[in-house]
């Protein structure tokens, strides 16, 4: 049943996303753009964290690097879309070099090492004042078009990037690369002895986790028109995508998107209803969800749900 409905559901979802700007106001469009951006971050983290099982906290490093690469390029007269490409290339190359060193570490050690990267980059950007504007931040050229058109432009650009990331996920998950990454996640030594070139595969996954994040960072810079080191190297940019993927379903194709939408919707509801304690309650909900759904919302099976219901009704009867 699930299989027959899936393509139909996807088509419906896609249509809804494409026509959304016609229906929604700027608030909705902005929220949707944000959801798409976080979907990109979640899908990206999923390559290294979900499929490969390496808990990377380097997302914000790639994001900030992409943002600065894009912003500096645009400042030097590079067209906006090309600058997003530059953001992607810079972040990916950096990931390739970084992965060569970091991916020798495993588990907690890898997590801590990847966490430090963004901190180091932030300090570097802070001190390279001539080039990056340092702590004062960097202004980007403003596009001289109508505000509504601008919101639509950013929305559709982000939608395209999200779709490209999703398509890459689908391809990787069916390709031998995805198979190899799943082997590494479950038993790296056994994978190696079975003929998987683990060093190469891990590096691929790490670079995949950077390329679209770098583009998203550069996109973000153009979108908000002003970036500073604390904003784009924010640790939350590393943590939130992880929470979203865990919420949605790690190592699955659609889990990260479901997670991003669920997370941001929850956050939005909390924020508008419970201003003073919203992050506390949000945290609580996430902990509960992850506790009871270890495979994420995507791993929710109707069979198990029914069994739960069955148990509870049996208890009631007793």
């Amino acid at each position: 049943m699930k299989r027959a409905f899936a393509p139909l559901l996807m088509l419906l979802g896609l249509t809804a996303l494409v026509v959304l700007p016609l229906a929604g106001d700027n608030y909705i469009i902005r929220l949707a753009t944000n959801m798409l951006m976080y979907s990109v971050l979640g899908l990206s983290w999923n390559f290294i964290g979900g499929y490969t099982g390496y808990p990377s906290f380097a997302t914000s490093a790639f994001f900030g690097l992409g943002a600065y690469a894009g912003a500096i390029s645009q400042g030097h007269g590079v067209p906006m879309v090309l600058a997003w490409g530059i953001g992607a290339v810079v972040a990916t190359s950096f990931a390739g070099l970084l992965g060569f060193v970091l991916l020798r570490l495993r588990g907690h050690y890898f997590a801590i090492a990847s966490l430090v990267v963004a901190e180091v980059l932030r300090e570097v950007v802070n001190s390279a004042t001539d080039f990056t504007g340092g702590g004062m931040g960097l202004n980007l050229p403003i596009l001289r078009i109508d505000v509504d058109r601008l919101a639509e432009l950013f929305y559709y650009s982000m939608l395209s990037l999200a779709l490209i990331t999703l398509a890459t996920t689908v391809i990787v998950s069916r390709h031998r690369l995805g198979f190899g990454l799943r082997c590494i996640q479950q038993n790296e030594d056994a994978a190696n002895i079975l003929g998987v070139d683990t060093t190469l595969y891990k590096n691929f996954a790490f670079m995949l986790s950077a390329v679209f994040v770098g583009a998203a960072g550069a996109f973000y810079a153009s979108w908000v028109n002003y970036i500073d080191p604390t904003d784009v190297f924010d640790i939350l940019l590393s943590v939130q995508p992880i929470v979203m993927v865990l919420l949605g379903g790690p190592g699955t194709v659609f889990g990260p998107i479901i997670g991003a939408v669920a997370y941001l919707a929850l956050e939005e509801i909390m924020l508008s209803n419970l201003l003073s304690f919203h992050s506390g309650l949000l945290g609580l909900i996430i902990v509960i969800l992850i506790f009871f759904l270890p495979n994420g919302l995507f791993g929710l099976s109707w069979k198990r749900l029914k069994r739960w219901m069955g148990i509870s009704s049996a208890e009631e009867a007793a």
């Binding site: 190899g180 002895i193 079975l194």
Partner: protein, 249 residues
């Protein structure tokens, strides 16, 4: 018969411990060779050195006329040496079929995951696991997991297969079934090294036995001769027992 593996003066040191001390031997195509020795003799270290898990401290390893010491283990696997682990190493959250397909895909001859799964089905049928193909690897019994390990290695299309204690923990009936499988594989021309400390198994199946003790190769002979070898008896049962045996004779 053609030589397939040639190990020359292989040594491996772990800090102050000489785990392998100047080991030299050759394996020929289609042979079943037993590798025995007391616990800690260096059997697994030898396998690890040949398969590239550890780098040899000194010595040469030649596999079908190519030097392989210093190559990474995934390269060695793809060249045709595969091994099973003493402690089985399945991918727990994959199906039995996917576990075997991984072998076909990365070291065997499959070019796509789907082709790999098709080939994997044959290997599962060969070891008698085809009915469990869709089950998760973590629910198999120990005997089943040992068979899975064997199917994974076979999926890699090995020319040399090193079985590290595939029979440990099995009951006699399961052992007999495993030995039959091993003989069938050897009949296809695959060279097999059986690593065991169950003497009965090794004596039963191998045409030649290598005996390791404290990192040294102390015997390389047919099984009938090995059981009479003074040094081997000494290694297994102690010096006093060995000399008592000698006196009795």
């Amino acid at each position: 018969m053609k030589e397939i593996l040639d190990v020359k003066s292989l040594s491996r040191q772990f800090g102050g411990l000489l785990a392998l001390d100047d080991i030299t031997f050759t394996l020929r195509e289609g042979e079943i060779v037993g590798l025995i020795g007391p616990n800690g003799a260096g059997k697994t270290t030898l396998v690890n050195s040949v398969t590239g898990v550890h780098r040899a401290t000194a010595g040469q390893i030649t596999f079908s006329e190519r030097r392989i010491e210093g190559l990474k283990s995934h390269r060695i696997s793809r060249m045709g040496i595969s091994r099973t682990f003493q402690v089985v190493q399945p991918f727990p959250r994959m199906s039995v079929l996917e576990n075997v397909a991984a072998g076909s895909l990365f070291a065997g001859h499959a070019s796509t995951p789907n082709e790999a799964k098709r080939l994997a089905q044959e290997h599962l049928a060969f070891v008698g696991l085809d009915r469990e193909a869709e089950k998760s690897a973590s629910v198999l019994t120990l005997a089943g997991r040992k068979r899975l390990e064997l199917a994974k290695s076979l999926a890699m299309r090995p020319r040399l297969l090193m079985l590290d204690e595939v029979n440990a923990g099995l009951n006699p009936a399961e052992i007999d079934a495993a030995l039959n499988l091993i003989r069938t594989i050897a009949d296809r021309g695959v060279t097999i090294v059986v690593i065991e400390h169950l003497m009965r198994v090794v004596m039963n199946v191998s045409t030649r036995v290598l005996v390791l003790n404290q990192g040294k190769l102390i015997a390389d002979a047919p099984p009938q001769e090995v059981v009479k070898n003074h040094q081997v008896i000494e290694a297994y049962l102690g010096k006093r027992y060995a000399s008592a045996m000698k006196d009795a004779r």
